[in-house]
């Protein structure tokens, strides 16, 4: 749902740019405190993966397709803020190099998908996954959050279109939310499949907020997170 130039009124895109610049700044600040060394290459891999996966449109119903958003996937592995930055990097790159999403609409696209979709999605995931100790809760949280992230982003997109006077809210909101409720099912299936593989092979890659040191962490990690928590 990359918004092109021309869909948003000047006031709308200027305001969403301002919110997104603030959101990215805040995310950089929050990420600096929690970014562990092992997460640096993971952020590279996630950026590459989200970019590649977003190229793969899958059909959802007659004549309509959707693709992975990847925000919840990134946030489950990197945490909400590094996840949001990963999505923002992908969206900026897609806009500047591939003309996917307009430059004026970039602020809205970053807000909908990287900030609301990713950080908001992570919030829902966290409520269900709790301390990540239970695999089933992690997967259930991932599924629900993945679906919500897509629907939430589409609702915000609809609101921006309505505020811009591009389409009446009463029509564009149900239309966007309806189609994206279907695309969100694809998002949930893909995200849960990937997280299932990661839980089986490298469960330590699942992001755990500071303070929830679990047995699956190595001693070195426990010590360093304890040290971070104290400082």
């Amino acid at each position: 749902m990359h918004i092109p130039d021309g869909f948003l009124s000047t006031n709308t895109w200027l305001a969403s740019w301002a919110i997104s610049v603030g959101g990215i700044g805040y995310s950089i600040k929050k990420t600096a405190g929690v970014l562990k060394d092992r997460m640096v290459p993971l952020m590279g891999v996630m950026s590459a993966f989200v970019f590649a996966a977003q190229m793969i449109n899958f059909p959802v119903m007659g004549g309509t397709s959707g693709h992975l958003l990847g925000g919840v996937l990134a946030a489950v592995l990197l945490g909400p803020y590094a996840g949001a930055l990963t999505l923002a990097c992908v969206l900026i790159f897609q806009c500047l190099i591939f003309q996917d999403g307009g430059l004026t609409a970039l602020g809205a696209n970053v807000f909908n998908m990287a900030i609301a979709g990713t950080i908001g999605g992570y919030g829902i995931y966290s409520l269900i996954a709790e301390d990540r100790a239970n695999e089933k809760r992690v997967l259930a949280g991932t599924a629900v959050a993945a679906w919500f992230s897509v629907v939430m982003a589409s609702i915000l997109c609809a609101l921006e279109l309505a505020i811009s006077g591009t389409a009446p809210l009463g029509i564009v909101l149900p239309a966007m939310a309806g189609i994206h409720a279907l695309i969100g099912i694809g998002e949930a299936i893909i995200t849960v499949s990937i997280i299932t593989v990661i839980l089986k092979t490298r469960p330590d890659l699942i992001y755990r907020p500071q303070g929830t040191v679990t047995v699956s962490l190595s001693n070195r990690d426990s010590l360093s997170s304890l040290r971070q928590g104290l400082s």
Partner: protein, 96 residues
């Protein structure tokens, strides 16, 4: 993350971009569909504010559409890995 896992993760991303992207569904996405149905699609069809070098994930100068997408996907994925990694390194450095 060990070197082996980084390479494996990157390999998965590259293979998706290289081999699967040419066969992605050409149908409009959710937003395009709604824009088409509600008649505001043409609002987004004026020339963009900024002309990107590789519009529509089609690498310029390659006649075969599948190859053009595949190559754009490959280069984009490799570049995206470098950008994501680089941003993480910069944020980490900023902390100290």
């Amino acid at each position: 993350m060990g070197e082996k896992e980084i390479l494996m993760g990157l390999a998965v991303a590259v293979l998706i971009a290289l081999l699967v992207s040419p066969f992605a569904s050409p149908w409009p996405d959710g937003l395009e569909r709604v824009a088409k149905d509600q008649g505001f699609l043409e609002k987004g069809e004026e020339p963009p504010v900024f002309a990107a070098p590789v519009p529509d994930y089609s690498f310029p100068g390659i006649c075969n559409k599948e190859w053009a997408t595949s190559i754009a996907g490959f280069i984009g994925t490799m570049a995206m890995f470098g950008i994501g990694y680089g941003v993480a390194v910069l944020i980490k450095r900023r902390k100290r």
